[in-house]
């Protein structure tokens, strides 16, 4: 049986928060989500991205952090993400 504390720290468990993905508002269940969950939520809410896009987070400092599918991030209403298609060798 999962304890209350464990339940509270499960990824995806928590409250609704509206973040930004590719400048579009996306409502997710925070505060902690994986990169894949963020992309899934964005796609479900009409953002024109695909699951294999590369997700990055724009930090308040101006830095950019790559968020892998399994990486967990803490989100809030100020969280901004960008998802772009991958590249090809040429």
């Amino acid at each position: 049986m999962t304890s209350t504390v464990e339940q509270a720290t499960q990824v995806g468990a928590g409250h609704q928060v509206t973040i930004t993905v590719n400048t579009k508002a996306v409502t997710v269940t925070g505060p902690r989500l994986t990169g894949l969950q963020i992309k899934e939520a964005a796609i479900a809410q009409g953002v024109q991205i695909e699951l294999d896009f590369l997700l990055s987070e724009e930090l308040p400092s101006g830095e950019t952090r790559i968020v892998g599918d399994a990486d967990e991030v803490t989100v809030n209403k100020h969280s901004k993400f960008t998802a772009v298609a991958g590249d090809d060798n040429s």
């Binding site: 950019t64 298609a85 590249d87 040429s90």
Partner: protein, 126 residues
């Protein structure tokens, strides 16, 4: 520099705090950028390399491509660098060219700094 290129350069500077970044403006409004110290990943003998690239005056409607790193980059396991990487020169520097093209370029979101992160992520994942 065009305003778009200047903003891209500032975004690169913000993304790499404390790292020396050299920029050469081009007469047509583009810029050549060198981020002088990044970690290419533990699979390489060298844990620091410069990475350079050109942001053309057409940015953001043109890809930021290709990128270049130090010419002596070598894998710890002795294997070759593999596809997408070739020895050449860039701006008078001996270099390894990293040819990663954004064939699905979205000018609204494919910024120079995100492209740089994509290239570094690819380099570190090889």
């Amino acid at each position: 520099m065009t305003p778009e290129v200047a903003q891209a350069v500032e975004e690169v500077r913000a993304a790499f705090p404390g790292v020396v970044i050299n920029v050469r403006e081009e007469p047509d409004g583009g810029a050549v950028v060198f981020v002088e110290s990044v970690d290419p990943g533990e699979q390489y003998q060298q844990r620091s390399t410069w990475i350079g690239f050109r942001i053309t005056f057409q940015y953001p409607y043109s890809d930021v491509y290709p990128h270049f790193v130090r010419d002596d980059l070598a894998r710890v396991d002795g294997a070759g660098l593999g596809e997408g990487m070739t020895v050449t020169t860039f701006e008078d520097r001996q270099a390894v060219q990293i040819s990663r093209r954004s064939n699905k370029l979205n000018p609204a979101h494919d910024t120079a700094v995100i492209k740089l992160h994509k290239v570094l992520a690819w380099l570190r994942a090889r």
